[in-house]
Symmetry: C2
Subunit: 215 residues, 2 copies
């Protein structure tokens, strides 16, 4: 009554019910949030019985947490991989690394990919505070921060640890805010296009960091 991983049943071809429920959860919760999705919404999207949520996960919120944890892990890995990748090209410059870090997430949001919606949900959850932001996102933040700080300090050796952390935080600001509010920005400012925004953010961030390095 503890572990309900399908014992021997091969989930050949079509996914297992458990898997389908996690998929449905990812899509629906990201679209409408925790309260905006009922168990019946989930189970009808996953083509299974209402009781399946409790059978496999022990409750709606347990399913939510499982899906959330899975997504955080995914995003975290992807982000770190991106930093490493950007740092391992022949001659990484501040601008090239910044662009690598900023472009992809922004593009995901711009093109309304699922990845973008997941990130939005995560921000929402941290804001709501009610939900497990602590454990998951603290590790997330910590892990990410140390990784980014390290990269930044090899790019701009003049920065001490404290200033590197401040810089990373500001780069995060410059990235996440448009990530969340791009639509509103473009709506209010027609005539500014996606590429211009990205270019601007990259050079704005670089200028800020270089000014810090110059004391």
């Amino acid at each position: 009554m503890d572990q309900h991983t399908p014992a021997t049943q091969r989930d050949a071809g079509k996914e297992s019910v458990r898997e389908r429920l996690l998929d449905a959860a990812e899509v629906l919760f990201c679209e409408r949030g925790f309260d905006g999705v009922s168990v019946r919404d989930l189970t009808s999207q996953a083509n299974c019985n209402v009781a399946a949520v409790n059978y496999y996960f022990g409750g709606k919120d347990k399913l939510y947490q499982e899906m959330f944890k899975r997504q955080v892990q995914d995003i975290c890995c992807r982000q770190i991989a991106r930093i490493n990748e950007a740092m391992s090209v022949p001659n990484p410059t501040l601008e090239s690394v910044l662009r690598e870090i900023i472009l992809m997430p922004l593009l995901a949001a711009y093109e309304k990919q699922q990845r973008g919606r997941v990130m939005r949900l995560m921000v929402r959850e941290v804001l709501n505070k009610t939900v497990h932001g602590e454990t998951i996102l603290e590790a997330f933040h910590t892990q990410m921060m140390t990784h980014a700080v390290q990269a930044l300090r090899t790019l701009v050796p003049q920065l001490d640890d404290k200033h590197a952390r401040l810089a990373v935080f500001s780069v995060d600001s410059l990235k996440i805010h448009p990530f969340l509010f791009m639509d509103e920005f473009f709506a209010v400012n027609p005539g500014i296009h996606f590429d211009e925004l990205v270019d601007h953010i990259v050079s704005f961030a670089a200028a800020g960091i270089r000014a810090m390095a110059a004391r």
Copy 2:
């Protein structure tokens, strides 16, 4: 059956039921969001009958909208006033104006004032998208943006309209992100204090803008 403003009844001393409900809504909704607060929570906080919400506002969501509109208006006015004030001192510099714009909201969040919670709720609602973000916040964004762009262009005349808008957006980024995630940042980075963060943001933003002006 349309307007339920108390006709002649003087609400001397203690507030009217309507007023108390709006106050309760402000506190509770900001704390727990729309779905996190039941009508009974509201009415018991306001010390009135459950039916009062429907009697005075015509429903829970109408009350929510009314309270929301009220708060947006309030924040909007305050923000614009702050810009005007910062611009009307003897010799306004880019840094002095930026500090004026950034310090107060951040302090409100840092000290966990009600104002800070309202802003958080607004961001949450824009993210949720489901709720009337369009009408209210578009006007909000538009109004604010034009005001800020105007101020910035008198401070840094080299900026054309487009670049001024990008700059304002980035200053917004640098302000709102820490506004939302300050707690997490300080938790992950002990040894960095509030004043340092503010100083950093101001000079980071100024450097970014000056670099834009320098082409």
